[in-house]
């Protein structure tokens, strides 16, 4: 081994030693310049190659290149290592307490009654019904007369209604939309609507009465509508709103605008029908009133009762919500206490 070879080997050893102990990237960069730079010892050696013999030249050249590459590699490796360390240090510095609360965007809640109404609307849209809306200040004609409740009908109690004039009043139910919708269809079916909305009664507000409340009216008139169809539709409704296991029963009842009239009970969702406080021990809970549209109602609104039949029903979203969640006071719906409203965000 000649002197140059030894020198190169010495350079390699020295470089490795220095790189090994380099502490930061600047240091490392200095080493790169010092060993591999244009003025560095390896370049020097390569520059002085001309002085070497023909035999020595390729041997030394090869060695010098190998040493340069080896130093370059060790510096690159060290650099990656230092960079990794640096990154780790930075990450360490950036560490936060991930258990601190995040920045939430405050969102509001949908009113429970609106949720109940929306759920019912969506179910009936799926069954082919449209959603109709009507005036809250109604004509006596649509609120009563067109519903087979003539002026002197005993079921009509002036004391129960907020009249504005003798002929104008706050609607006492959503049923006027039956007459209005039928009239608009000019005697031609099918008519399938559901109509949610506010209604008004002359009641003193207490835990179970409210002078303003919601109703959802349903109406289905066509050439072959049967009471069994009402039963089917209400069964679907009961299962959707109160659970798959619910059964329904129809009890005869009376409403002037339907004949026959029925009341629908569902099997108690609390006790499954064995009897409990919710169903007052009967196993059944009264949910809504319904029936086959009275021929007088069809006739007055321009439908021929010998051609068309139909069913109608009316339900109270407050009652549904109160039953479903065990709400004890109807006034909660209109007090809008956020501690009440927020309990039903998911409803």
């Amino acid at each position: 081994m000649n002197v140059l070879q030894e020198k190169l080997m010495e350079l390699r050893r020295k470089a490795f030693e220095n790189v090994e102990s380099a502490e930061d990237l600047k240091n490392l960069q200095d080493l790169r310049v010092r060993f591999l730079g244009k003025k560095g010892p390896i370049t020097e050696i390569l520059k002085g190659m001309g002085k070497l013999s023909k035999e020595e030249r390729p041997v030394i050249g090869q060695l010098a290149n190998d040493v340069r590459n080896a130093i370059g590699n060790i510096i690159d490796t060290k650099k990656a290592e230092l960079e990794q360390k640096l990154l780790e240090k930075e990450l360490e510095n950036e560490k936060i307490d991930v258990t601190l609360p995040g920045r939430k965007i405050r969102t509001g809640s949908h009113h429970l009654l609106a949720s109940v109404i929306r759920e019912v609307e969506d179910l009936f849209i799926g069954l082919g019904f449209s959603v109709a809306e009507g005036p809250e200040v109604e004509e006596d004609y649509y609120n009563f007369e067109a519903l087979n409740l003539p002026k002197d009908h005993p079921a009509r109690d002036m004391q129960d209604s907020f009249y504005i004039t003798d002929e104008i009043l706050m609607r006492t139910h959503t049923s006027p939309m039956q007459a209005r919708t039928l009239e608009a269809h000019k005697g031609k079916g099918p008519v399938k609507i559901i109509c949610p909305g506010k209604v008004y009664r002359r009641d003193t507000d207490d835990a179970t009465h409210s002078h303003q409340f919601m109703q959802i009216e349903g109406l289905c008139v066509d050439k072959h509508i049967r009471l069994s169809d009402l039963k089917g539709v209400l069964t679907v409704f009961a299962k959707h709103i109160f659970g798959e296991d619910r059964e329904i029963r129809l009890r005869p009842s009376f409403f002037p605008f339907t004949e026959p009239s029925v009341e629908m009970d569902i099997s108690c969702f609390r006790c499954g029908g064995h009897g409990c406080a919710v169903c007052k021990g009967t196993g059944w809970i009264e949910i809504l009133g319904a029936g086959m549209v009275h021929p007088n109602v069809l006739r007055m609104s321009g439908f021929d009762p010998s051609v068309y039949t139909g069913f109608a029903f009316g339900m109270g979203p407050e009652r549904i919500a109160m039953l479903k969640y065990g709400i004890e006071d109807i006034r909660h719906f209109y007090t809008d206490d956020i501690r009440f409203l927020n309990q039903f965000r998911r409803a």
Binding site: H110, R251, N342
Partner: protein, 803 residues
């Protein structure tokens, strides 16, 4: 209607049908049994005792010592009742018995004397004190009840009472015979109604009295009997107990019989003391102008000319179907009775009862309807009972005017209609069978069903009524559950309804809670914070329940302010509400207001929590406005919306803007006036109200896809100094107008006052983005537009470029 299970057994065999089962069956076939009660529930060891001796208690001035035979033994009982006497048969709660209210009776001593039980008043056995005879004393059996026997059956305390909820459709069940027919049909068992025998004497009533009716069609039939030799006294025990069970207090045999027959037949009867009636001629006519009558309750009543009265030819002795007159009331001294059994027009009775404010058991029956063909039978039944229990002599015949009976109504219909409407497949024999169970006459001829409806079923008159009768007796629960068949029709939310849902969602995403408040409010609130001022009077209901809810709201904001106040009173200071609902805007010349759907909001407190990052950020005007801007963006309307400073009552004069859509005011947003905050004790609160229909009803612009931009846009900032009075909106307008078509967007990013800016001026910095979809803009092109904008701002807004 309170129905005694024991009484019902007079007419229908109830063997094997418990009261519970009966209540279930009745409820499921049409008449709801609201309550089923057992009057004797909880009573134990109550026996019939006979008082052998009754001596005063040596140590008391009101107690008695009684030796009482209880059948198995004779015991001493101390009794304090004023009516106790030797020889009486009485109900005795023996040692170990339980009386009403779960009170146990044990051997005890009263002032040194042993007492082995208690002689009972009916109220001590659970009977309503207001109904019980001898309310101040013990109950005394009036006839041969066996000593030592269980007393409860003799007091009908082994009965069950079904409380029927009578609706218009079930008025035929307001009497026992009607209920019996219903029960017979439901159970498919025969009904037995005994034919009464009036025990008439040979003397003809027509020789003694005459009847004339002069009241048009308001009195289809009026009949009277004359009954002599009456001995007024108590009615028999069984009758008293049945009246009590029905909720009627026994008075005397004559009154009780009249009530009893009404309960049994549903036919109201009236008894006049004939000697006090004042003539032997009964004239039924309309009341005269200013006519008055003193009724049984000793009230002077003013009559209306539409009222029908029963007169002695001159003076009114009764208001037909409502109440009798004081002057001819039956008393203990009555000997001769004029017994009325009549049919009156329901509406006439309803009106009279309403204006006289006397809803009696008679008037409510007349109002809802009585069996047209039972009027004579009821009279016969009363005559029978008066003969038996008041030693009466009944004169022969009923003296009346009008037909005593009418023909039954007939209904003819295709029998298949019943199946078609029910969705059932009943064979014709089953249909006619059900109708026959109900006591109807039914025959099927080919496709046709002929039905004759008994007069007691005045609620049945059209084919649909028969559908109901068949359906309810067959059982709705036996019907299949089907879905409507027929052509498919479109069913979806309307665009308006979809946008409404979107709006609700957006408000909630902006942090507002949905509220529902009342439409009826106070006079003061109704017209406050309206979008448009009018001098029209708000719409008021004629007869409000309270002034709190008397007038229809014309805006929602006042209701939301109340909701905010409610929460502040309960230490909840961060409150944010919105409501979408109707407001009612009065119209001139029409009592019916316009109904408009509005969106309103109210926010107060902080919009962020106080947390580990620092202090909370309070809501302000721009929070409220930002919510609206979000909405307008979502509806793609922002280009057509404008805000202008506004002065509105109740709102801060410097922090209120009117909201314009296409140049028309559709609402406002603003801070509540400090004076309002002070008065209502509120924290700074910001409100808005918008007429939402113009927003949602308008045609939504089509969505036009334009691909991704292929060329870069160029951003330039511009800082302008203007007078403080110049609204930012003015600069926006000028910039936008002059930037078209290359100006893509404008954003105000800095507003600065003070410092180097003159005192009455402000600096506003905008970031402008220029863009051409077809090419990259050159600097020269951008500069040209930019300069044009600057120049326009200088000219139109007095702006200067900030150096």
């Amino acid at each position: 209607m309170l129905v005694s299970y024991k009484w019902l057994k007079d007419f229908v065999d109830l063997d094997g049908v418990t009261p519970e089962a009966l209540a279930d069956r009745i409820t499921n076939s049409g008449i709801e049994v609201e309550h089923l009660t057992y009057p004797g529930e909880g009573l134990k060891n109550i026996v019939v005792g006979k008082i052998l001796t009754c001596e005063p208690h040596p140590e008391s001035d009101h107690l008695h010592l009684c030796q009482v035979d209880l059948g198995s033994e004779t015991v001493q009982i101390v009794c304090g009742a004023p009516n106790v006497a030797a020889g009486q048969k009485v109900p005795v709660a023996t040692n170990g018995a339980r009386i009403a209210g779960h009170v146990s009776i044990k051997r005890t001593k009263f002032r040194g004397e042993e007492s082995n039980g208690m002689i009972c008043a009916l109220s001590e056995l659970g009977v309503d004190k207001a109904l019980a005879p001898y309310e101040d004393g013990i109950y005394v059996f009036d006839d041969e009840v066996p000593v030592g026997a269980d007393a409860l059956p003799y007091l009908n305390l082994d009965d069950a009472i079904l409380d029927l909820d009578i609706l218009v459709s079930s008025a035929h069940c307001m009497n026992m015979i009607g209920v019996a027919y219903e029960v017979g049909a439901v159970l498919n068992r025969p009904v037995h109604i005994p034919v009464p025998d009036p025990h008439e004497t040979d003397e003809a009533a027509a020789d003694a009295i005459s009847v004339a009716v002069d009241a048009g069609d308001k009195v289809p039939y009026y009949g009277a009997r004359l009954i002599k030799g009456i001995q007024v006294g108590p009615s028999p025990r069984w009758m008293q107990l049945r009246l009590i069970a029905a909720g009627i207090r026994p008075i005397s045999n004559v009154v009780d019989i009249s009530n009893y027959v009404m309960l049994e037949y549903g036919q109201p009867l009236h008894t006049f003391d004939f000697d006090a009636f004042g003539s032997n001629h009964v004239l039924v006519r309309f009341a005269g102008e200013n006519e008055t009558i003193e009724t049984l309750d000793k009230q002077q009543r003013k009559l209306e000319p539409t009222d029908v009265v029963i007169t002695n030819g001159k003076k009114a002795e009764a208001v037909a179907g409502v109440m009798g007159g004081e002057s001819s009331e039956v008393t203990a001294d009555t000997h001769t009775v004029l017994l009325e059994s009549a049919i009156f027009d329901p509406m006439t009775i309803r009106k009279a009862a309403l204006h006289l404010q006397m809803r009696t058991s008679a008037s409510s029956r007349y109002e809802k309807g009585v069996d047209r063909n039972r009027v004579a039978a009821a009279s016969d039944r009363a005559a029978e009972l008066l003969t038996k229990y008041a030693s009466a002599k009944v004169l022969r015949g009923i003296v009346g005017q009008g037909p005593q009976t009418v023909a039954e109504q007939t209904i003819t219909m295709p029998w298949q209609k019943i199946n078609r409407v029910l969705g059932a497949g009943l064979p014709p024999e089953q249909i006619s069978g059900i109708l026959k169970r109900l006591g109807f006459t039914a025959a099927i001829e080919g496709d046709t069903l002929h039905v004759s409806v008994p007069t007691r079923r005045f609620d049945v008159s059209i084919p649909e009524d028969l559908v109901e009768e068949v359906g309810r007796i067959y059982g709705y629960n036996n019907l299949p559950a089907t879905l409507p068949e027929g052509e498919a029709i479109k069913a979806s939310l309307t665009p308006y309804q979809k946008l409404m849902r979107r709006t609700e969602q957006l408000m909630e995403d902006c942090g507002l809670n949905q509220a529902f408040t009342y439409s009826l409010t106070t006079d003061e609130n109704a017209a406050a914070y309206t979008i448009h001022d009018t001098d029209r009077r708000p719409t008021r209901v004629i007869w409000p329940m309270s002034e709190e809810h008397a007038v229809l709201r014309e805006s929602i904001v006042p209701q939301l302010i109340n909701a905010v106040g409610y929460h502040l009173n309960r230490q909840m200071t961060d409150v944010a509400f919105y409501e979408i609902g109707k407001v009612f805007l009065p119209k001139s010349g029409d009592p019916r207001p316009d109904e408009e759907e509005h969106l309103a909001g109210a926010i107060t407190g902080n919009r962020t929590e106080r947390n580990w990052e620092g202090e909370p950020q309070p809501v302000d005007f721009f929070t409220a406005k930002g919510i609206l801007e979000n909405l307008f963006d979502a509806l793609a309307l922002s280009d057509r919306i404008d805000y202008r400073p506004a002065k509105r009552e109740g709102l801060h004069p410097g922090q209120t803007a009117d909201v314009f859509l296409d140049g028309k005011v559709i609402g406002y947003v603003g801070a509540l006036h400090p004076a309002v905050l002070k008065k209502e004790e509120l924290n700074p609160t910001f409100v808005f109200e918008i007429a939402i229909e113009p927003l949602l009803r308008g045609k939504q612009p089509e969505i036009v896809y334009s691909g991704l931009p292929r060329f870069p846009s160029t951003a330039r900032d511009i800082a302008l100094v203007v007078k403080r009075t110049v609204p930012a909106a003015d600069l926006y307008h000028v910039i936008q107008k002059n930037g078209a078509p290359l100006l893509q967007s404008v954003r105000l990013f800095d507003v600065y006052e003070g410092g180097h800016v003159a005192k009455d001026e402000k600096s506003m910095a905008f970031s402008l983005t220029y863009f051409d979809p077809e090419r990259t803009l050159t600097d020269d092109e951008v500069n040209a537009v930019h300069d044009r904008i600057l120049k326009a701002c200088e000219e139109e807004c007095g702006a200067e470029l900030r150096g």
